[in-house]
């Protein structure tokens, strides 16, 4: 029987492994650093402002969808929470901002965003606490049913929400009291871009933190996470709440920029659309949300005009093809291509 030969940490540290250790330490330390390519989407967004000044209203909606998709990527792509009802938080945020202005006369935009985030986060926390004990089909059903409940509640309280006719008369006061809103949506574009940028940095920080690593662990192997003592349920509820808050901000931006909100913001169609965007772009990559949302919105803008049925068919077909052949989305395809020509893709 082996004698007491303590395999204590540190007992085997020798010169030979020093080099290897240093490389590993460096890897961990540099994981989160900004890569040059990450500047691309932001430069593109600014470029678009100058190249397409008359399409800024559309551009704002694209940015809003990117933000919405980023919030879904956080909970689905990173934490593996399968939700068919994420639009509930988008809608709650939209109605909060809308009603603040139209019913309570509170027109300051940025506090509108905070209020929307707060309410969406609250609902996210409460529903998440109950729902996230489950996984798989049960969770899908629960998120779907919960979102429909929110929709039906909105429908029932048409006095509050205006039902399918919606809430209008949303008047947003100038940003910081200085920047007024022009007909072309220029101010809204910059405003949305700034909000997206800040929140994106927040999400990026979370994703590269130890908490973010734990989320990936939960997604990849929840059994192992339980076995190493991870408080899985709390981690999931936390990220779900954050995701709900950000979706709420996206909804608020939507309400503010459109000056009009209907129950459509709470619909299954909206939950499905953001899911499609994310799958198209690639989950768990943060920038997949950018790619997917932009591609989806541009295609929709061009094809839905031709024929809504044609567009719907195309989305369905894209989805089927993506699941069968390009499961990791466009970014996944790009990564594979990159690997083919010799680069080493980083997560």
């Amino acid at each position: 029987m082996a004698e007491s030969n303590r395999a204590s940490p540190g007992a085997y540290r020798e010169g030979g492994t020093a080099e290897l250790r240093a490389r590993a330490v460096q890897f961990m330390a540099r994981r989160h650093r900004f890569r040059l390519a990450e500047a691309a989407p932001w430069l593109l967004a600014i470029l678009a402002f100058f190249l397409f000044p008359d399409r800024m209203a559309f551009g704002t909606q694209v940015l809003i969808m990117v933000l919405f998709a980023v919030s879904l990527d956080l909970i689905l792509g990173y934490a593996g929470i399968m939700s068919l009802g994420h639009a509930a938080f988008f809608g709650i945020g939209a109605y909060t901002a809308a009603l603040l202005s139209a019913r309570l006369g509170w027109n300051e935009p940025i506090t509108g965003l905070f209020a929307a985030a707060a309410l969406a986060a609250l609902i996210g926390f409460i529903s998440g606490w109950f729902l996230l004990r489950y996984r798989g089909l049960t969770l899908l059903m629960l998120t779907l049913a919960t979102a429909i409940m929110v929709l039906e509640f909105g429908n029932a309280r048409a006095d509050l929400t205006g039902g399918y006719d919606g809430v209008n008369g949303i008047a947003i006061s100038p940003l910081f009291g200085v920047f007024d809103y022009d007909l072309y949506g220029h101010t809204y574009y910059i405003y949305s871009l700034a909000v997206l940028f800040i929140l994106f940095l927040v999400v990026r920080q979370i994703v590269y933190s130890p908490f973010g690593q734990a989320l990936i662990g939960i997604r990849e192997n929840v059994r192992r996470m339980h076995a190493i003592g991870s408080p899985v349920h709390w981690r999931l509820v936390t990220v779900y709440t954050i995701g709900a808050a950000i979706a709420g901000v996206a909804g608020a931006l939507f309400a503010q920029s459109n000056a009009f909100v209907t129950l459509g913001v709470l619909s299954f169609e909206r939950s499905a659309a953001v899911l499609v965007m994310l799958i198209l772009g690639g989950t768990g990559r943060l920038y997949g949300a950018f790619v997917g949302a932009i591609v989806y919105m541009v295609l929709e803008d061009n094809l839905a005009k031709l024929s809504p049925a044609f567009w719907e068919f195309g989305v369905g077909l894209l989805l089927v093809l993506a699941v069968l052949f390009a499961r990791r989305g466009l970014l996944g395809l790009i990564e594979d291509f990159g690997r083919l020509i010799g680069e080493r893709p980083r997560r």
Partner: protein
Amino acid sequence: MPHFANVIVSILFDGLAYAMILFIISVGLSITMGLMGFVNLAHGAFAMAGGYLAVTLTRSWGVPFIPSLVITFLVVGAASVPFERLLYARLYMAGELDQVLLTIGLTLMAIAGYTFFYGTQPQSMGVPSYLTGQIDLGFREFPAYRVLMIAVGAILIAILWYGFERTSIGAKIRAAVDNRRMAQSIGINVDRLFMLTFAVGGGLAALGGALAVYIMGITPTFAIQYLVLFLIVVSVGGLGSIKGTVLAALVLGIFDNAGKYLYPTGGAFFIYAVTVLLLLLRPSGLYGRE
């Protein structure tokens, strides 16, 4: 009958008819999900296909009502097999999300297709005159068509129950639902079994869709609109259980109908609230396995 009781009976009766449709459409979904663990959100599209096929048969081709129902069952049932073999079978080992995405994609394609060919207006079906009136059941008169729905539902429940509990195929299905690997290891050809159940399930969905046309009309959004209800019936009843599907369909059908009658706006809220509560308490449904 006193007026109050009359209203109750009407609500129950309508709810029962509605429940039968829910059952007929959902039972296929329950068995296939319980058997293969495949989340098929395109099931609503099969029901929709049945509805449209029945419309074309009775209106454009003058096929009588009952034969149309039978043909619908057979044709859609057979047509679902290539879907299963060529598309679904590729994702049996994939995660639920992939299955959800694939089947939603198929559903969207179906909706777009039917919009293109039939337009967005609700279509109706040719129904023989003996079904458009009332039938006297002794203590009261009831709409004939709904009596038919309930009758068809009852007959199908009996046939399915018998097939499930008393035939060897039924036994094999139950065994495979219970423990697929074990069933395979004792020589049950699970793939063929699944093809059969999928075809029957699809055919039944189509039959239910066809039956529903007279009551609810058929539009291209049928596939998604009622999908949630089918999913609820299946989740609440428990995957792979006929008994569960019957019970869930009854409860949901009657309460949804009652809710719509008594609280037209927002009555649906309660159905979803009850569903959420039930799933939180019993995540595998009333008769599902862990």
